[in-house]
Amino acid sequence: MVPLWMYLVVSAGLFAIGVYGVLSRRNAVAILMGIELMLNAVNVNLIAFWRYLTPMDVSGQAFALFVLVVAAAEAAVGLAMIISIYRNRQTVIAEDIDLLRG
């Protein structure tokens, strides 16, 4: 069987890629994708921990399901906002959305 630490390494890698995506991308949709990667890294973590540590107890699985639901809600709200900004300003580049500053 694949040892637990391998899953954790994959998850940490996914999370790091997600963080890098959020910090380096200029497109709001790509930033959202980075955030989704981070959430999926968490899910890999949760499911791996559940399988290896507490396979008799469903709490890890339940947690992962809740994360999925929340991620879906977040994506829906985020994309709606990006679309409404795009309609008004014809841009999804985060740096150009800068009316508020000071």
């Binding site: 930033i31 949760l46 947690f63 409404s84 900004i85 000071g102």
Partner: protein, 490 residues
């Protein structure tokens, strides 16, 4: 985890949440039935409804002590009850102050989303499980993202919504990664089960430190602690004014409840790991907040930086939560959040009415407010003096408790930095007062109308500020202290 049949006591523990959900549906239904001429009353229904829920919660659903309810998901103790009262009060007052606010006041969906967010906040106050804590936090945040961007056609509101969303989702992903590690280290999701597993320093310093840092980033973002504060001024400036008020009080109060119960609760046996971190957060937050507030010209931005600084003071009390067993730390945080809710709502309500009459948010335009509307100027003055910590208003006694909690925990230096910051803050609070009372303007003959629902808001908040600062201080603090002593480990 065992969720079988529900006991009555368990249903009573989530009474406010159930009633809030019903109220949200009622408001949506009324929107369909009522003609558009009655839409103004939607906010009054929502606000009054939340007041009724608040009363029912206090009467029917007294705290049930230490028992974990609903499969260990929540605890219905005094701390939960106090923070529920705070967020319900914040929600009711926000509904009432939205009634005549431009663009949001006559929309049923606005109130429904606001109430949904309130449900999340009351659950944050009582969450005793990391799954519950995460779901409650997102139930709070996702509606707030929508509310911040509610004025879709207003570029600034849409931008505030998007920024709040991107930063918020980023920070909560960090928090979530930390929570997944906690589950992995212990195999448990209950806060006190995890804390018990960490009692003897399992699973080692480095993994614990990693978890502390990830969770701290998420929580620090929610309470807008420096260096995770950068979203705050932008969101407050762009969002509709009542929403800015709600984010600044409701979300902050619920986040402090979460900070004390979840973050500090989980790591209660490792104060050496988070105490220095919180001290750094506290010093940075109050100093940066106050210094950046000084040059602000926009009243909403100024209140944003002021709310950052207030979070900094409150963090002082949070450092002291597990420092001694007299409950002073948690009690001072609770008491301060209570008075901060009232004070900030009062200040934002003045800004709402001022904006409605003048379409301006510039501090300079508030010149002559004392002649245009002596009542509004007085309300603003009381709120500013309370924020600045002038006796006999509640802000003074609240700061006094925070500073004494810090001193009691042996953090004299921190308390001194706090006092210096409070003095810096007085400068910008009083310069607004000067603009309102001393500066003259050409519009002084145009009075500012104060509609009926706003009288209720001012009545509740201003009486609250004065009572909590004088005769009610002892009673309020004693309740907060009782709640603090109910925290396991204090």
């Amino acid at each position: 985890m065992n969720i079988g049949t529900l006991e009555n006591s368990e249903l009573l523990a989530i009474l406010p949440e159930i009633l809030l959900a019903v109220l949200a549906l009622v408001v949506l239904a009324l929107d369909l039935i009522w003609p558009s001429s009655r839409k103004r009353e939607l906010g009054i229904v929502a606000g009054t409804g939340v007041f009724v829920i608040l009363a029912l919660t206090l009467i029917l659903s007294p705290p049930q002590g230490d028992e974990a309810l609903l499969g260990g998901m929540i605890r219905h103790d005094d701390l939960a009850q106090i923070f529920k009262v705070m967020v319900l009060l914040a929600s009711a007052l926000t509904c009432l102050m939205s009634v005549d606010a431009e663009g949001v006041g006559r929309k049923a969906e606005y109130y429904a989303i606001l109430l949904a967010s309130t449900i999340g906040m009351t659950l944050m106050a009582s969450a005793a499980d990391i799954i519950m804590a995460y779901v409650a936090m997102e139930t709070t945040s996702i509606p707030l993202y929508i509310l911040a961007g509610f004025l879709r056609d207003d570029d600034r509101s849409a931008e505030a919504g998007l920024k709040y969303f991107l930063f918020g989702a980023f920070a909560s992903a960090f928090l979530l990664y930390g929570l997944s590690l906690l589950y992995g280290f212990t195999g448990e999701t209950g806060i006190y089960d995890i804390a018990a597993a960490f009692r003897f320093g399992e699973p080692g310093t480095l993994p614990l430190l990693v978890a502390v840092i990830f969770v701290a980033v998420g929580v620090a973002f929610k309470v807008s602690a420096v260096p995770f504060h950068f979203w705050t001024p932008d969101v407050y400036e762009g969002a509709p004014i009542p929403v800015a008020a709600f984010v600044s009080v409701g979300s902050k109060a619920a986040s402090f409840a979460l900070l004390m119960r979840v973050f500090l609760g989980i790591f209660q046996h490792q104060p050496q790991m988070w105490a220095p971190l919180l001290v750094v957060f506290s010093v940075a937050t109050m100093t940066v907040g106050n210094v950046l507030a000084l040059p602000q010209k926009n009243i909403k931005r100024l209140l944003a930086y002021s709310s950052i600084a207030q979070a900094g003071y409150t963090l002082m009390g949070a450092v002291a939560v597990y420092a001694s067993d007299n409950g002073l730390g948690a009690a001072s945080v609770t008491f301060y959040m209570g008075l901060y809710v009232l004070t900030n709502i009062a200040a934002f309500t003045v800004v709402t009415l001022f904006h409605r009459a003048t379409h301006s948010e510039e501090i300079a335009d508030m010149a002559g407010l004392s002649r245009r509307s002596p009542g509004l100027a007085m309300a603003m003055l009381l709120a500013l003096l309370s924020l600045g910590g002038i006796p006999p208003l509640a802000g003074f006694i609240g700061k006094f408790y925070l500073f004494s909690a810090a001193v009691d925990a042996g953090l004299v230096g921190l308390a001194i930095i706090g006092v210096i910051n409070a003095i810096i803050a007085l400068y910008y609070y009083l310069s607004i007062a000067k603009v309102m009372y001393v500066d003259r303007s050409e519009d002084e003959d145009k009075p500012i109308e104060v509609p009926r629902p706003y009288w209720v808001v001012f009545g509740v908040t201003l009486v609250g500020i004065i009572v909590l600062g004088t005769i009610g201080a002892g009673i309020g603090f004693e309740w907060a202290r009782q709640a603090a002593l109910g925290l396991p480990g204090v």
